[in-house]
Symmetry: C2
């Protein structure tokens, strides 16, 4: 639509600057010291919705960080699109690996570098600017609701209660989420699934205090050694996960599905070069795309214990810790896997240490049917702006709340993501290409148009 | 000797206050930010030697922290005792586990709590106060030299050069060191050996940057998992160390020696209760005292990688690190073991990661003959003040420079330590009992007396 294109071209710089302002707010939900920044960011989102043309926009308090809700109801008889996104971001550390401040966004080589640039501020803000485009050009063909939360990166602990208590408010015909990636600008794709998550923290305690490793070493179990042995045992020699029952509920992909996946463009050498590794690693019997898409995984997200400073300290530490998370695929259940994992760790823990393993958060896997109205509208929208039909792919990440949305609101979810795997999500130097940002703003109005025409 | 006892009783409080002042200086050799504190501490040691009656005391510059040398030459025809000690201390972290500031010494229940209280400020300072006692009472029967260095806790990297270049200055008849422990005040003992050390740091790199564990997890080797597998493989199911050649040079204890060791008082239940562990761990086929005394060990002193902060971060980290140290027994050589360890780690490292393993520092094991004049003088001194003959035991710790002293200066070393294993050396809440401090000051002059009488 020429009118959208013209409006967007004209306001291009402002669309960017507004996003940069949002990226300057260090809205790290995991860290209690950013509590006030979280509120500040929520307020900024609320204002931006009103400025873009929402009839109303409000903060809803939770036990944690506030939820932003906004809406533009043009005509109750028209279909309603519920846009979900999150204004919180992952912690920025390790800070020393950033080339510029994580909360001081810079544009370099046509890319915005900042924590949250892609995940998810840059992506949900495309919807705000798409709303503005349609409102200002009098072309909004749907009702639109925004649910932008502040706890996605910590597992959405308070969103479920809000959804359950506000079913009427959130009533819609489809949920649209931009919080995933596409293969590339040349090969647009739509995620048809997100994996579930079980994230736990483990504490292993040996002696009741740090000891001199010369005086006690060799006679008392070292919690680092024991934790390492426990971690080492979680994958067998074929990199299968060894927790009994772990794979029981996994829906194995059919040969036909695997064949289709194998057709997605993938260059192993480029993949390895990009990551700087000589050899790939993973579960025997599966391809890289299968390992990240249709197979559950167990990853160590962090480990620490003993002396980690400069120089040497000959200590036999009292404690060692690890953060471990599993990605889950349909039909695994987060609660069940968390229990299997924690029970297994307790079982394999030898009696010369004590262990405490606890849930951080979890989320269920989710699959979008490609014959749904939402998926079809997204595919048509992408075709309209990219000139080619998107490939449906299974994404590796997790959006914990998806399964609950479907259950409580009875809605299908469409993942229309414009990020790239190379955007360094959750890593130093997170980025979002300007081209992707603008392409998203251009594409979203088409989604509303095609969804309204369904 | 009544005259010593009276002098010491009279100056008791000052002897304590002077030590407390020394403990207030945060002389952490491993941390570059304490460079100036190191010099300040060296200056304080120098002044204390002059004040105690040294003829001269001076700082010798090194590539690292200064060495303090002092002497009181009464008569060149008399025997000379070279006292070695160190004014540097281990890092104090984890700080949150200290009940009071590590460099704000407090007296509680008859114990001095501070970093360095026992290791080694409290112990070498007994010799300074013993010198003062003998000088002030005109009873010094020997010449006495002090060599107090500032890099013991980081492996004495610059002491060897100093010793080699100053053989004449350091000429003596015996080296006396108080930097070890005794079994208890009721069961005095003398260490007849210290273990050697090989301390390395390992860096394992997987992908070239931190990755999103959902997007890449399962397809790229996680450096924490790989490091854990490598660490786990270093001890077999009997807790023997698996590095090929590791035990080749170990001098096995004879049955007679093992029988003698088994006679030293040891209550396993008390030992476990003190450490708060249900079961002890260690190399199969050896007792606890053997494991810490006559067997080499491999301990993890630290591990870190990925996200270690509050909350959760779903990251697949680029790097993971560990600090690993081995304690060595006679006839193992530090250089050789370090090479075996590093070569082995490189060999077992799989090709989907890269590894960098480097030496921090090392030191050779050392044994004192119990029929030497020095040992006999120490045993008689302890008998004079404790009322019982000390038990010779093999200590688990390391004093890296001992083997070099013997080689370069041709001297035997006597370890007359007054610490306790429960003094929390290298740990939070390091302490030194006032009773042990005063008992040491009381005992040391007897060593000089008996050594002069030999």
């Amino acid at each position: 639509m020429q009118v959208w294109k013209e409006y967007q071209e004209q306001h291009k710089d402002r669309f960017l600057n507004e996003l940069l302002d949002l990226l300057r707010i260090p809205s790290v939900s995991a860290r209690s010291e950013h509590k006030e920044d979280m509120r500040k960011c929520a307020e900024a989102v609320r204002s931006s919705l009103l400025q873009a043309g929402a009839d109303k926009a409000e903060l809803h308090e939770t036990a944690g960080h506030p939820i932003v809700y906004g809406e533009r109801i043009t005509d109750p008889s028209k279909p309603t699109v519920l846009v979900y996104g999150h204004y919180d971001v992952q912690p920025a550390d390790p800070l020393n690996l950033w080339h510029s401040g994580p909360f001081e966004p810079v544009i370099k080589d046509g890319k915005i570098y900042a924590r949250g640039a892609c995940d998810d501020k840059g992506q949900f803000y495309m919807h705000v600017k798409a709303l503005e485009t349609m409102v200002q050009t009098n072309t909004l063909p749907t009702n639109i609701k925004f649910l932008i939360e502040g706890e996605e990166e910590v597992g959405s602990p308070n969103l479920a209660n809000f959804v359950k208590a506000n079913k009427e408010l959130l009533k819609a015909d489809v949920i649209l989420i931009s919080d995933t990636a596409m293969i590339s600008m040349d090969t647009p794709s739509i995620d048809i699934g997100v994996r579930g998550l079980s994230y736990i923290e483990v504490e292993v305690t040996g002696p009741n205090r740090d000891l001199h490793s010369g005086v006690y070493g060799g006679a008392v179990a070292n919690p680092i050694t024991i934790l390492a042995k426990m971690i080492a045992s979680l994958h067998d020699e074929n990199n299968h996960i060894t927790i009994p029952g772990f794979y029981d509920d996994v829906v194995e992909a059919t040969e036909a599905e695997r064949k289709l996946m194998a057709e997605a463009p993938f260059n192993e050498q480029e993949y390895k070069d990009d990551l700087g590794v000589k050899t790939l690693w993973g579960e025997k019997g599966f391809t890289t795309n299968e390992r990240t898409g249709i197979r559950p995984t167990l990853e160590l997200n962090g480990i620490w214990g003993g002396y980690t400073g400069e120089g040497a300290k000959t200590v036999l530490p009292s404690k060692a810790f690890a953060k471990i998370s599993c990605r889950l695929v349909p039909n695994q259940q987060s609660d069940k896997i968390t229990k299997l994992l924690i029970d297994h760790l307790n079982k394999i823990a030898p009696d010369y240490i004590t262990i405490k393993a606890e849930l951080h958060h979890g989320g269920e896997p989710y699959m979008t049917p490609i014959d749904s109205d939402g998926y079809k509208a997204a595919a048509r929208a992408i075709e309209a702006t990219f000139g080619k039909s998107p490939i449906p792919v299974r994404g590796g990440g997790s959006i914990p709340i998806c399964a609950l949305f479907e259950k409580e609101l009875g809605l299908k979810i469409v993942f229309m993501g414009f990020g790239l795997d190379s955007d360094n999500l959750h890593s130093p130097n997170e980025k979002y290409d300007l081209a992707n940002y603008y392409k998203g703003i251009e594409t979203i109005p088409y989604f509303h148009k095609f969804f309204a025409e369904k």
